[in-house]
């Protein structure tokens, strides 16, 4: 049978399928769970997200934002100064799909001498996901199991020079690479309960409360979502990150202390190897060595600490 030539290499899929058949399926990925919710009001937009990461039924991370590189582990990714991108599902995928966008947009801004529009921002992840989709769906069938979904909610800059910029915008980007500019879109139905409220929202505080309520609904009703609420407010000129919006799930104090006595771990033998020989201390001079200042003032003997 002639091998069909296509743009996509199928070689690995045969290998992966055969490995899966021998009970060697591909490893499971960590998911960044999924409660993200945008709410536009007047000329601004409020984004919210919860901070749990899961791997199957195990909580892989309780507080993404407290990691040393918050931008990397946050569900809200920097895109441009007035655009942010929220992401959900496989943690590594979302990081790598959102990673090249800021630089692309910066180049675009320099090239066109305009602030990038939100719709422009969707291009990079859209094209990337489209090619990823072919790759993953064919090669990582088990790994995806029909659940793979990347949604980017991109928040907006509205005073974009041209009159065609209609105001706060957000787009949803699906894992297959399709995007739309519907004014709604959250993955979890729990958040959807809050959807009607925001249509008439005219106040920042109200918008914040709606987003908070939507994320809280996800945290408490959806097992994949949990921990804390983080968010940001995007205006035409700047973005304000809101960490610790609410922390309704603090760890409780444990009843006991779990300290182990020295020597708890069994050992069969003890062997200490000396790597450094003790230095011979030779005192020179007639000064008193016990005062710290006098010893520091003099050049000290090599290999001994100045006291």
């Amino acid at each position: 049978m002639a091998v069909q030539i296509s743009a996509v290499a199928y070689r690995s899929s045969y290998r992966n399928n055969s490995l899966a058949g021998r009970e060697l399926p591909l490893p499971k990925a960590t998911s960044t769970a999924t409660s993200i919710h945008p709410c536009p009001f007047r000329d601004e937009i409020v984004l919210g997200a919860e901070t749990r990461a899961t791997g199957d039924t195990t909580v892989a991370g309780t507080n993404c934002k407290k990691t040393p590189r918050p931008k990397l582990h946050s569900k809200i990714h920097y895109t441009t100064e007035s655009i942010r991108c929220c992401s959900a599902e496989p943690a590594a995928d979302t990081e790598f799909t959102t990673a090249p966008i800021p630089s692309n947009m910066e180049f675009h801004a320099l090239q066109t001498a305009r602030k990038p529009r939100v719709v422009t921002t969707t291009t990079t992840p859209t094209q990337m996901l489209f090619s990823f989709d072919l790759y993953f769906r064919i090669h990582f069938m088990l790994f995806m199991s029909g659940k793979y979904r990347h949604q980017g909610y991109t928040g907006a800059d509205l005073v974009l020079r041209g009159t065609d910029s209609p105001g706060p915008r957000f787009f949803t980007i699906h894992s297959h690479g399709s995007s739309d500019n519907l004014a709604n879109g959250f993955r979890k139905l729990d958040c959807n309960g809050c959807i009607r409220k925001w249509l008439g929202t005219r106040h920042r505080k109200e918008a914040r409360n709606i987003v908070k309520a939507a994320i809280a609904a996800g945290i408490f009703k959806d097992l994949d979502s949990g921990s804390d609420i983080e968010g940001c407010i995007i205006t035409s000129t700047h973005t304000e990150m809101l960490k610790n919006v609410e922390m309704p799930n603090e760890r409780v104090q444990k009843e006991r202390h779990y300290n182990f006595r020295r020597g708890t771990t069994a050992r069969k033998k003890k062997h200490v190897k000396k790597f450094a020989e003790d230095d011979q201390v030779t005192l020179t001079g007639d000064d008193d060595m016990d005062t710290p200042h006098s010893s520091l003032a003099k050049p000290h003997i090599m290999g001994t600490a100045p006291f």
């Binding site: 749990r52 309780t62 408490f220 949990g226 799930n249 760890r251 006991r256 020597g263």
Partner: protein, 256 residues
């Protein structure tokens, strides 16, 4: 048969229905020298949704036996109902409560009776033996069982059991020179271990949380009674005057 002719070209189709589901949650039981502690969280979930935040998984059978069920909640509830019915019949026939050793054997036969359409339930039975010692019996869904000092089952079994192995059985721990580990821990140590097991499982397992229900069964004249006085929100649920006493302790767990 003309009706058959038309169906010759059709392939036989198979209809499948899976009557089982998994409702998450975790249970555990620890036996002391003269008491037994049986606990479970109260969350009932299916998939990524919570069905209810309060669905008890731990049931008092008699004043000396408490049964915890985990797995498929509908099967669990039905199983407890049937065990209770058998225990009532026993009471009518013998004018006393069935000993826990006999309840364990009864549960085995009831489970194995359904060998090829099993109750999708992991059972842990805790209580007081006729000789006054604390007992824990753990079962698999088809009736294999064993008496142990402690056991965890359910969604977070793989998180809790190693912790109990280390803290109750002192696995991977060397005693201080010239001393040895106790065979049984006092209730004052066991209760904090149970609470910590569940708060920890709640932190790391998405199907565990909402509430914690701890049953404490004390043997006649148990010395552990003293330490129960100071427990916040403890409630006695003893029904007979046989001497054994049963208490419930309820605690909140994280709800995310």
């Amino acid at each position: 048969m003309p009706a058959m002719v038309s169906s010759i070209s059709q392939q036989p189709t198979q209809q499948a229905f899976n009557p089982y589901t998994e409702n998450g949650g975790t249970i555990l039981a620890i036996a002391g020298a003269d008491f037994s502690v049986i606990a479970g969280d109260t969350r009932q979930s299916e998939g990524y949704s919570i069905q209810t935040r309060y669905a008890p998984k731990v049931f008092k059978l008699t004043d000396k036996a408490v049964l915890a069920v985990n797995g498929f909640a509908a099967d669990g509830n039905m199983f407890v109902k049937k065990v209770r019915q058998r225990l009532e019949w026993y009471r009518h026939a013998h004018a006393k409560d069935m000993p826990i050793r006999a309840i364990a054997r009864l549960i085995q036969t009831m489970l194995y009776a359904r060998r090829f359409f099993p109750y999708y339930v992991y059972n842990i039975l805790g209580g007081i033996e006729e000789d006054g010692t604390g007992a824990v019996y753990s079962f698999d869904p088809v009736g294999s069982y064993e008496r142990e000092a402690c056991r965890a089952a359910g969604a977070a079994q793989s998180l809790v059991q190693p912790f109990l192995d280390n803290q109750i059985y002192f696995k991977n721990q060397q005693p201080a020179p010239g001393s040895s580990f106790p065979k049984h821990l006092p209730l004052t140590s066991v209760l904090p271990l149970v609470i910590d097991s569940f708060t920890s499982a709640t932190e790391r397992h998405i199907e565990v949380g909402d509430g914690l229900e701890i049953y404490v069964v004390l043997a006649k004249n148990s010395t552990a009674l003293q330490s129960l006085q100071s427990i916040r929100g403890i409630q006695e649920v003893t029904t007979t005057t046989d001497g054994e006493r049963v208490f419930v302790i309820r605690r909140d767990l994280k709800k995310d």
